[in-house]
Amino acid sequence: MTQMNMIEAIRSGLDVMMDRDPAVVMMGEDIGYFGGVFRCTDGLQRKYGEHRVIDAPIAEGGIIGAAIGMGLNGLRPVPEIQFADYIYPGFDQVVSELARIRYRSCGEFFSPVTIRTPCGGGIRGGQTHSQSPEAIFAHVSGILTVMPSNPYDAKGLLISSIESDDPVIFFEPKRIYNGPFDGDPEKPAKSWASHPRGEVPEGHYTVPLGKAEIVREGTELTIITYGTLVHVAQAAAEETGVDCEIVDIRTIAPLDVDTLADSVNKTGRCVIAHEATRFGGFGAEIAARIQKECFYNLEAPIGRIAGWDTPYPHAFEWQYFPGKKRLAAGIRSMMEVE
């Protein structure tokens, strides 16, 4: 075990897979010689060469489209889209091609692409460097959607994603690249050093896709969340004193409904928290499933805490971000329902 932040864990996952499988190649803007704007691919081009860690033109549609073609020719591409906000020029390639090739060719063709992309706010990125578009991708059948919340899961889920023959959109919440973040920007930044999930094996291991994890056990209320908000939820639970159970879903699609439903059936209350906008957000899907599976055990309406339904405003980032105060208020109001 080695102490790693999320960037190092992701880099280690890429390194392990490139070393094990010569078919693994990477392509993206600034990822090669420079090592990536967030440093996730630092040193990998020197180690594996320019033909496997490929600097790309600034054309996300081209990166994804060409990666699909490489995957059709026996490679296992792991393209990087520098910010999730930049992914839309490649959206048609993801939805109409990547997600459908296996289906429309009845399995004769498939392209095992894993698209890595940093998402989320809290880094003063404004509306074009802060988005969380996971629900848009979760809506598309034929692709898997993943978002880890810590270094250990990041590496294990990334290896599972690369090894999967299904295409994966792998969202990396960039606010927690360097340390867990409890939603309070005034406090000094914490590092992963003091977090148990900052301990990461150096070699190969996997975290299974499609499995949620209970990160805090509790009896009074379940918070279902993922990414950065896993940590905010923990801080909010502490602040309220409510005995919350927190479930990190880790894989958005396919969703581990059993783990979520078991928890809510136990606690009887459910708050769903995500950073993305609320309207049509992934929380709506979770709420519908919980309503169906847990209806007779629910003691309060299912709550949703999310980003406001506006673009991510640069100067009002912390009023937009669903932080500790909003989550705590949501938890308290849920407990007031008799």
Binding site: G65, L72, G74, G107, S141
Partner: protein
Amino acid sequence: MADKKSRLHIPHPTARPGDKPDFSYLDLSPAGAVDKPSIDSRTRDIEYLSSGLVRVLDDDHQATGPWAPDLDPGKLQIALRWMMLNRVFDKRMWQIQRQGRISFYMEALGEEAVSVAQGMALRPGDMCFPSYRNQALYMYRGMSLVDMMCQCLSNTRDMCKGRQLPIMYHSAKANMFSISGNLATQYPHAVGWAMASAIKGEDHIAAAWLGDGATAEADFHHAITFAAVYQAPVILNIVNNQWAISTFQGFAGGERRPFAARGLGLGIPGIRVDGNDFLAIYATTLWAADRARRGGGPTMIELVTYRGGAHSTSDDPSKYRPKDEWQDFPLGDPVERLKQHLILGGQWSEEQHEKLEEELTAEVTAAWKEAQQYGTMTEGPFLDPSTMFDDVYAEVPRHLQSQRRRMMEVEGVNGEGSES
């Protein structure tokens, strides 16, 4: 520009219904007039290839000039047979659609030389990323007529298991990619495939096809940028058949410079070729393939042709272009031109041609008879609808297993398939 004011230019075709067809906008070169450079020429030295028109067959059906390929008459007879089969097959499938026995069809009338000549110039290990008018590529690479018909019927032998619109074939065995209904998406795939071939050190190349209209798509521009940057071993074909449904090629930006010149700004050589001249297409494709195989990178080929029929069975071209426009197209009919060339050389005759057409018609009729045994739209056997849940993912996930069970439960009641 005399009034010195800004203006909005709306492109107009030279002729509309009722007008006399007018192809004066097409720059033509006489057969044999365009030089054939060596495959290692620099792009800047061969820019003339994108503005001229490479032609081998002259107006008297003689092969002439530096591009005339070394093909024996036997091969040309085979080529003629494939082109005729394409036409006979299309004609029959069109009728079948009109009888309501398949839902949709697209014919390649007037464009048959493109797929056959390029198919013959490529090697079996080269990967093709076709568009929807390349059916002869599938035929040439070994897909049976019965398989193609079964796909159009969505029956029990349909390679797509009823998931795709008719004509959207695929064959991994034949190195023929699956056709997408979204235009130009296959272009970056071909470039990525070719990049992978180069990464692996193999000498297989990729080839992609799209129409003049689809060059306006972002994917076209993404693809040619990547092809140029990485010098991918790929042939980028633009089949300029003048019409994208009702949108004439001027709306894709074809009014001022030929499509073949689209890659010049990136250093990709472009060849403008007579798309109804089998010999010229074969020769230019071979040139581009050799160049790619020897590390010379991508070549763009614009095949100047004419869409002889409607865009699809859902289209009515008499609403937007002169009815007899094809008859006036200066590059003629590709089947007729190859036929006349062979007759001129004493290697073919009207009698042989007629006999072959009868044979091919019988072959298509027999194939249709066989295809229907695997089911039609109205008569069984039918595909099992529960297979719709397969191949969404490598393995069927739990939520799809449950939806499949639910669909089967309600099937026959109201056909609703979604989970309540």
